[in-house]
Symmetry: C2
DNA sequence: CTGACAATAGAACGATCGTTCGAAAAATCA
DNA sequence: TGATTTTTCGAACGATCGTTCTATTGTCAG
């Protein structure tokens, strides 16, 4: 690896940590330069614009997310074990030490939801992918017979997403461990509901088809 | 009302709208002055510091939240109707036209969770209050016999909180109406679980309760 | 109408923002 | 090694940041 790639990697890693604390916009060229012991212009030359730096941060985060959350979970057995792994690793991701300010995606979502542009586009597509992974994992669990056949997998993904966001928000705001227990309890309830077949519920009839 | 109070109100209202789009830190004195047709220093004099302006924004948001969400819901019948009203009004709040950038509390939470100070303290206490209202409403529903007696009301509040945050996040990120349906479905599932007593869950049994 | 006081404006402050440019230093290749 | 390219730096740019002054305007009671 060339020298340039090396220092770019190092800069982006530092920028990722910084962005998790102060947001993508809060990662200032000057502050990042000082943090990494470089000159403003020397650092700036690696990216060409602040927007490119922000995209580099998001790309780095996606890479790490895939290698720390998605890939390991895909090595778990298909179905319920994989769904569990995705959830557990997601929780762990949100407290990763290289993001001392919390999940960068959740921070970026709030920051970018009103600012059209390539940075936002990158975030939207990666979040869409992630929801697809969650929904797909649920679908596999259905196929494996772990979940009920009429489960709405997109709905399952939404609720999983909501639980993780609720956990993250409250854990960071109140600085306690309680919300982790709450999140796990909510996840258990979600699993219970996905597992139990519909005919055991009052108003449901044994359905053959889903979708 | 004096002239000063009048313009302060007007400034804060404009600042609230702006903060929902660009965050509390993004509300710059200069931009806000131009937006409200005033001089920087004239506007600044109303607050004395940017931090005070941010607190004023949060206070204004709390006032509106109470009068648009909490108070009306408290006029609903105790128990389930009130819980429903809190949820529905919360969803509506998140799309209020005076916050074109979405819920200010959710934006502020991400922005302030790493920045200790009076602004963060204000936010934390108001979020704690809100979770207390939700939990309390669930408790009343238990007392009224609408929810099962062994319901964990704090857990209920957490899950309601998570659903609303998931809705808000995805609605703003993907700019579609789908997440509203998802949120309502998740809420229904939450209610179903809070309603059915625990002993009916493992095995199927036609319950008497429905809404 | 006048005097007191509140509200707003204008100009300027040092600091920092993202960005540009040309030169020095370091790394790479012949 | 010498030549060349890549990487880094220092200085400066105009713009904007929050904030502080002083001066001017507007409001309102006596």
């Amino acid at each position: 690896m060339s020298k340039g790639e090396d220092s770019r990697k190092e800069i982006v890693a530092s920028a990722l940590a910084m962005a998790s604390e102060v947001g993508l916009e809060g990662v200032t060229i000057g502050a990042l330069a000082e943090r990494t012991g470089r000159s403003k212009s020397g650092l700036f030359a690696h990216f060409g614009s602040k927007e490119e730096l922000q995209i580099a941060i998001l790309d780095e985060a996606v890479d790490r997310f895939v290698s720390l959350v998605v890939s390991p979970a895909l090595k778990e057995k298909r179905g319920l074990p994989r769904v569990r792994a995705l959830f557990e690793r997601w929780l762990a991701w949100a407290r990763a030490d290289f993001m001392p300010g919390g999940c960068i995606f959740m921070a970026a979502t709030v920051e970018l939801d009103d600012r059209p542009g390539p940075t936002r586009d990158r975030l939207v597509s990666s979040e869409k992918d992630w929801l697809g992974v969650l929904s797909g994992a649920a679908k596999i669990a259905v196929d494996e017979g772990h979940f009920r056949p009429d489960l709405d997998c997109d709905q399952f993904a939404f609720e999983l997403y909501a639980i993780a966001h609720g956990y993250h928000t409250l854990a960071r705001l109140f600085r306690d461990r309680a919300s982790e227990k709450r999140a796990r309890a909510a996840f258990d309830r979600l699993l219970r509901d996905a597992t139990i077949s519909t005919e055991t519920r009052p108003s449901a009839r044994p359905s053959a088809k889903h979708h």
